[in-house]
């Protein structure tokens, strides 16, 4: 019966061997290896929502405009455009050479059908409201009007006309977003909703989706029909899905990745010492903040208490010691670096730390609290090392300066999100916001009364009317003044505690050229190239 043992062993091993065989031809040419933290939820550009999906989509598709590696708006599929004097009509002229990856020309009609599908309710697009300013868009999303009534037209094959309901100076930057990319009619006709798969997905951008192993890797290869193919250096890009940032760092060290999506939060100074110029840190359009639940006590109708808590936090200390990766302490809501905007700062920003603390103590007393009657508050945050460190630091600061008793509650992300939405149990919660486009409005709109992202449940009539007036302004300078005033009004209410502004951090191999730091953290692969020694490497 010994043979049955051998049989068993043989069975195990042959299962292993057979399922392990794969015979892929090695890549010829230059292929960039990039890391992303998770799979795109979809490569259907209307169903996608995450920054990871957007990153891959920017390599597969192209909108009317795009960004350069230094973060400037440049023409992409459109070679030029005209804007009417009242700012309500935009006319885009497409390049004649734009093509899909099957050789078909990209026509204006493809852009129109793409935008219509974006706002069609049945699509369930996350960014359906990206084009809220376009005529009839909100009505279509809510189902009152049909998609054909959207204010976009294609008077001929090379012209796209957008009609807006209100002047939107940042419209051009919206048109770089993947949700506004065109749609080839055959995609839906032939494949229905499942067109975003390797072998089926048509690209009008520099690369084609060659392969996708969910949970592992996405392989993009050169689109020969791309209009700018001659200036696209890389033959391909592989996006490796690496969930753990420590594992990603190891793979970078082992030479398997050229670009990482992030770096582990610990030992930043050691990383800097070890990698020097390969570590690229740049300001990023994102804010880390604590929000107050304004719908319930103790923070409802209690601006003194909110201000006291906000002033008692030493943001400089947090940014320097706790996160320590070059983040800037936040004294405003809108990050610096936003196009033509000067953020308003909190009134106490210029004060020295001791002065802030004295003032904080006074406000705390005015709110009715003291050492005999301390504030007991719950601080919620989602599970992460960084969040925990910051929460512990803030707990200590509030206790030292004011005598506040803080209970820290660590929740899984989805649970926290659910709690924030319900606004029943939350008091102070950690949250963040990443800008969708390079304009102050992407941040200021978060705290509008109707916004689903308004976790604090902030509502202020003056804020609303200022934003409304800004939205109807054609003149850029006047608009900016309204927005800055709105920010000032909001900050004076202290619905949130801005903590710090994010930085983007990547490890970029010295073999990569063309990398440009920009505030949106967009790094189109078509701008990059690999040095000659990296070519034809497996």
């Amino acid at each position: 019966m010994k043979s049955s043992w051998l049989l068993l062993l043989f069975a195990f091993l042959s299962v292993g061997a057979v399922t392990g065989c794969s015979t892929d031809a090695p890549d010829s040419g230059s292929v960039l290896q990039r890391g992303i933290p998770t799979d795109p939820e979809s490569l259907d550009h209307h169903k996608a929502r995450s920054t990871q999906a957007a990153e891959v989509l920017r390599d597969l598709g192209e909108g009317l405009l795009a960004y350069s590696s230094s973060g400037e708006l440049v023409p992409a599929a459109a070679e030029r455009w005209d804007v009417s004097a009242d700012g309500l009509t935009y006319t885009f002229h497409l390049r004649s050479e734009v093509r899909w990856s099957n050789g078909d020309p990209v026509t204006a009609e493809h852009f129109v059908s793409g935008l219509r599908r974006l706002v069609t309710p049945a699509t369930g697009a996350f960014y359906a409201n990206m084009l809220a300013a376009v005529v009839n868009a909100p009505e279509i999303v809510s189902g009152t009007l049909s998609p054909e009534s959207l204010g976009v037209e294609a008077p001929d094959d090379r012209t796209v006309v957008l009609k807006l309901a209100r002047p939107t100076p940042y419209l051009l930057s919206l048109l770089t977003h993947p949700s506004t990319f065109p749609l080839h009619p055959s995609s839906i006709e032939e494949h229905g909703d499942g067109f975003a798969r390797p072998g089926k997905l048509l690209s009008n951008g520099p690369y084609v989706l060659n392969a996708w192993v969910p949970g592992s890797v996405l392989e993009l290869r050169r689109n020969q029909h791309y209009w700018n193919n001659a200036h696209t250096a890389l033959d391909g890009v592989n996006y490796h899905v690496v969930v753990q940032d420590a594992a990603e760092l190891n793979r970078y060290r082992a030479g398997e990745l050229h670009i990482t999506s992030t770096v582990p939060p610990d030992n930043f100074s050691e990383l800097k010492a070890q990698f020097g110029g390969e570590l690229r840190v740049a300001p990023y359009l994102g804010i880390y903040y604590y929000g107050f639940n304004l719908s319930k006590p103790p923070f409802k109708d209690n601006p003194e208490l909110r201000q006291a808590l906000s002033m008692a936090i030493d943001r400089e200390q947090l940014a320097a010691k706790v996160t320590g990766r070059g983040e800037a302490p936040a004294f405003s809501w809108v990050p610096p670096g936003v196009e033509s905007y000067e953020p308003t700062v909190l009134s106490f920003a210029p004060l020295a730390r001791e002065e802030r603390e004295t003032l904080a103590r006074r406000l705390y007393k005015e709110a009715g609290y003291s050492d005999a009657n301390p504030l007991e508050v719950e601080l919620r945050y989602n599970t992460s090392d960084t969040n925990k460190k910051i929460a512990v630091a803030v707990q200590a600061m509030w206790n030292d300066v004011l005598g506040v008793q803080t209970t820290l509650i660590n929740e899984e992300f989805q649970v926290l999100l659910s709690n924030m939405r319900d606004a029943e149990v939350t008091q102070v919660f950690r949250s963040s916001w990443m800008g969708d486009y390079n304009d102050a409005f992407t941040f200021l709109s978060v705290l509008q009364a109707g916004s689903a992202a308004n976790m604090p449940r902030y509502s202020n009539d003056e804020y609303e009317s200022l934003l409304e007036r800004a939205a109807n302004q054609v003149d850029a300078e006047r608009r900016r003044l309204y927005l800055e005033e709105a920010e000032r009004v909001m900050l004076a209410d202290h619905p949130v505690i801005p903590m710090y502004f994010y930085v983007s951090k990547h490890l970029v191999s010295p073999k990569v050229s063309g990398w440009g730091d920009n505030v949106l953290d967009y790094h189109y692969s078509q701008h990059l190239s690999l040095s000659a020694s990296e070519r034809a490497r497996d």
Binding site: G124, F126, V241, Q414
Partner: protein, 282 residues
Amino acid sequence: MVHAAPGGPFDDERALPADVEANIARAYHLDEPLPKQFIRYLTGLVQGDLGPSYRYRDYTVSELIGAAFPLSLQLGALAMALAVVVGVGAGTVAALKQDTYLDRLVMAGSMTGISIPVFVFAPVLVLLLAVKLQWLPAGWSSTTGASRLVLPVITLALPQIAYIARLTRASMIDVLGRDFIRTARAQGLGTMTVVRLHALKPAMLPVLSYMGPAIAAILTGSVVVEEIFGIPGLGQFFVRGALNRDYTLVLGIVVFYAALIVFLNLIVDVLYGAIDPRVRYR
């Protein structure tokens, strides 16, 4: 039960406008009462349709499981094979050389293997073998050759090797002390022949009984290993599915695991009968 966890598959800080949220809920039947959703799921299940994944929206659950299972199977099978071969070998050596330094070495080594968690020694191995020495790839997707199997299989097998070694040693010592072995020795057979022909099979019975729990341990251990090496196996999809509230994916994998475990237990029972003549099925 899956719906009991707070939050849903489409929740995000980047909140959806109410209209859009309603549209999505309708498309995925999430707006229907739970019993109706349950019936809908069962109907699909019977026809082999496990539904779409909520998180990987371009793929169905069947596709994801279909791609992930062979990978997990491959890893698990190789790890199991390695564990049995090395574990039994080490345990036998330890039993034969009982109370010598070799025995102590094997036992100490196995105690270490059981005590140190996978997520500690796996990164250490990666750091040493992949980053410093660059003998092996650090990530699954970095190459397509068999070298990417080495580290994951070893890390998955190590705790089992340790356990099987101890099990074999104890069992082998017991068997070697029995009368029929003494008879065989008395008849002049050499040690290795005795072990091979007479001692191995009865000593294997406890190991065989352990196969069931071992497979379960490998299944659960694979989650950590898959995470560390970035392997798109079932374990990874299971955990991510739970965190993403990807209801259909989680349900699909649970159903799949259940079927698998029933099947494997059946195999173990049959094997038991094949090995031990005293257990025969009529």
